[in-house]
Amino acid sequence: MNIETTAKTESHVKHLASAWSNGQGVQPITELDPDISIDEAYQVQLHTINRYLQNGKRITGKKIGLTSKAVQEMLGVGEPDYGHLLDDMHVENKGTVPFNRVLQPKIEGELAFILKEDLVGPNVTSLDVLKATDVIVPAIEIVDSRIKDWKITLADTVADNASSGLYVLGETFKKPANLDIKQIGMALYKNGELQNTGVGAAALGDPAKCVAWLANKLANYGITLKAGEVILSGALSAMVEAKPGDHFYVKFAELGSVEVSFSE
C-alpha cells in the first residue's frame, strides 16, 4: 500500500471507531469514499483488528457472512464475506448482553465449527473442513453494524468486520461424522414467539462449504484458520432485530438450544 491509501485506510478505521464514541451508527464508508475496493475494505477491517490486538484482545475465530442466496442477491454479490471474532465478543449461553455493548443488534442462528487442525487454502474442500473439525456447536450470532441504519453495501460491511457483534455458543456439541449438517433444522424464537425457521443448507447449500470458502479466501491474505478457532459458518434464516429487554431462544435439531437476553 502506498502512503495515500494507508492514510485513507486509517481515516476509515477512525470513522468506524467513532460509532462507539458517539454511541450511534456513522455514515457509510462508501458515501465518503465511493471508489473503495473490496480489497481496500478488507484492509480497513484488518487495521481495525490489529488495533484491538495491540490493546490486548485475542482472535478466537472467524465469521462468514452473506451466505444466503437472498442476502447475496440483495447486496448484488456472488460470494460471502468474513470477519474476525475476538475474545471479548463471546457471551455465555443464557447470558445477558448490556445494551451499551451493541448499537443496532440483530440475531442469527448458526452452526459453529471448532477446528482441531489448521486449514490452509487454496483448494480446501468441504471434506477437508469436516476432517479438520473437532466438533459442531450451535450458536447465536449477534450481528451489529457501525453504519447508521444498516445502510450497507458490500464494501461497508467488509470494512466493518463483516458486521460482527457478539456470539453465543451452546453447550451441546457433536462430531461432524455423526451429523447431517446440511439438514439440521433450526427454529428461532423471540420472547417466546416463533420468528422463523431454517436449515443447514441455507448457508450456501452446506455450512462446511462456507468454511472451505473462507479457508481459500484467507489464503489470498496469507492467513490460516488455526486449530481451536471458532468458525461461525453463516445464518440459517433471516436475521431478527433485537431491542432492549428481548430474549432469544434458538433450537437446533440434534444440537440443543442457545439463549441470550438483552438488558433493558
Binding site: K69, D180, K182, Q183, I184, G185, M186, A187, L194, N196, T197, G198, V199, G200, A201, A202, G205, S237, K251, F252, A253, E254
Partner: protein, 266 residues
C-alpha cells in the same frame, strides 16, 4: 350452523369449483361476485358437497390435508384456525414418477411432513402429545397445490370451497417412528433441478407439525368426525409454495426422515 344458503346454491358453487378442476381452467373467486357473503361455515358445506360428488363418481378419499398452517399466513388472512381438505386417490403421484403439467392449471409444490396414526383421534381437546402418542410413523411428502382460482387469488372461504387447492400428493417411502425425532426442528429443503428453492424447519407448521393434526382432530370433532388411523395426513406446507415448470426434478429432503422426488413433463 346458520346459513342462508339453500341446497341448490351449495350444489351450484360445488359444481363451479369442481367443474373448473375437471376442465383444468381458471375461474374467478366465488366471493368476487357469484356469492360475496360466503362464510367459512358455508364454504365447508360447499366442500362437503364437492367431496360427495367425487365419491359418487367413484373416487376415494386417501386422507386429509391441512392448509394455512403458518402463523404468518394465518395473520395475513386474519384467521385463528388452519383449514382442511381431502386428497383423493386420483391425485396420488408415486415417488419417482412424472406428472404432466398439462394435467394441471398452474401447479405449485410445498414440502410437508406426513403422519399416519395407529389409532383414531377424536376431538375436542386433542393435544400435540396425544397426536405423537397415536402416531405410527411420519414420512416426507410433497403436496401439489393447484388453486382453481385465477392467480391463486382467493379469500379463506374461497379456498375452502375449492378443497383447499388439493391437486396432488407424493408420499415418500422412508417411514420413521416419531419417538426419536424432534419434529419442530427437522430441517427441510425443497430443490428443483438441484437448486434449493425454499427451506425451513418443522416449527413452520403451527410451531410443531403434531399441532396441525391436533387442530384437524378438533376441527373435525365439530361435525362429529375424527382423524382415522392408517390414513396419510398432510400437515401443511413447511415453506412458501414454488411454481412448477416442465423439465423440473423436484426433491424434498426432511432431516432425519428422508427424501421424496418426482419429475414434471410437458
Amino acid at each position: 350452523m346458520v346459513t342462508k344458503m339453500d341446497t341448490h346454491l351449495i350444489k351450484e358453487l360445488a359444481n363451479y369449483t369442481h367443474g373448473a378442476e375437471k376442465e383444468k381452467r381458471e375461474i374467478t373467486k366465488i366471493t368476487a361476485d357469484l356469492y360475496p357473503e360466503l362464510s367459512i361455515e358455508e364454504a365447508y358445506l360447499v366442500q362437503e358437497e364437492l367431496v360427495r360428488q367425487k365419491l359418487e363418481e367413484g373416487k376415494k378419499i386417501v386422507g386429509p390435508k391441512m392448509g394455512i398452517t403458518s402463523e404468518a399466513k394465518m395473520k395475513q388472512m386474519n384467521v385463528d384456525d388452519p383449514i382442511y381438505g381431502y386428497v383423493f386417490d386420483y391425485m396420488v403421484v408415486n415417488e419417482g414418477d412424472s406428472i404432466s403439467i398439462s394435467d394441471y392449471i398452474h401447479p405449485k409444490v410445498e414440502p410437508e411432513i406426513g403422519f399416519v396414526l395407529s389409532r383414531d383421534l377424536e376431538g375436542p381437546n386433542v393435544t400435540a402429545l396425544d397426536v405423537l402418542a397415536a402416531t405410527e410413523y411420519v414420512f416426507p411428502a410433497i403436496e401439489i397445490i393447484d388453486s382453481r382460482y385465477e392467480n391463486f387469488n382467493f379469500t379463506l372461504p374461497d379456498v375452502i370451497a375449492d378443497n383447499t387447492s388439493a391437486a396432488g400428493a407424493v408420499f415418500g417411502t422412508t417411514l420413521k417412528r416419531p419417538d426419536n425425532l424432534e419434529l419442530d426442528v427437522v430441517g427441510v429443503t425443497l430443490s428443483i433441478n438441484g437448486e434449493i428453492q425454499a427451506l425451513g424447519a418443522g416449527a413452520a407448521v403451527l410451531g410443531h407439525p403434531a399441532n396441525s393434526v391436533a387442530r384437524l382432530a378438533n376441527m373435525l370433532a365439530k361435525k362429529g368426525e375424527k382423524v382415522i388411523a392408517g390414513e396419510p395426513i398432510l400437515t401443511g406446507g413447511l415453506t412458501a409454495a414454488v411454481m412448477l415448470s416442465p423439465g423440473d426434478f423436484v426433491n424434498v429432503k426432511v432431516g432425519g426422515i428422508g427424501d421424496v422426488s418426482f419429475f414434471v413433463k410437458e
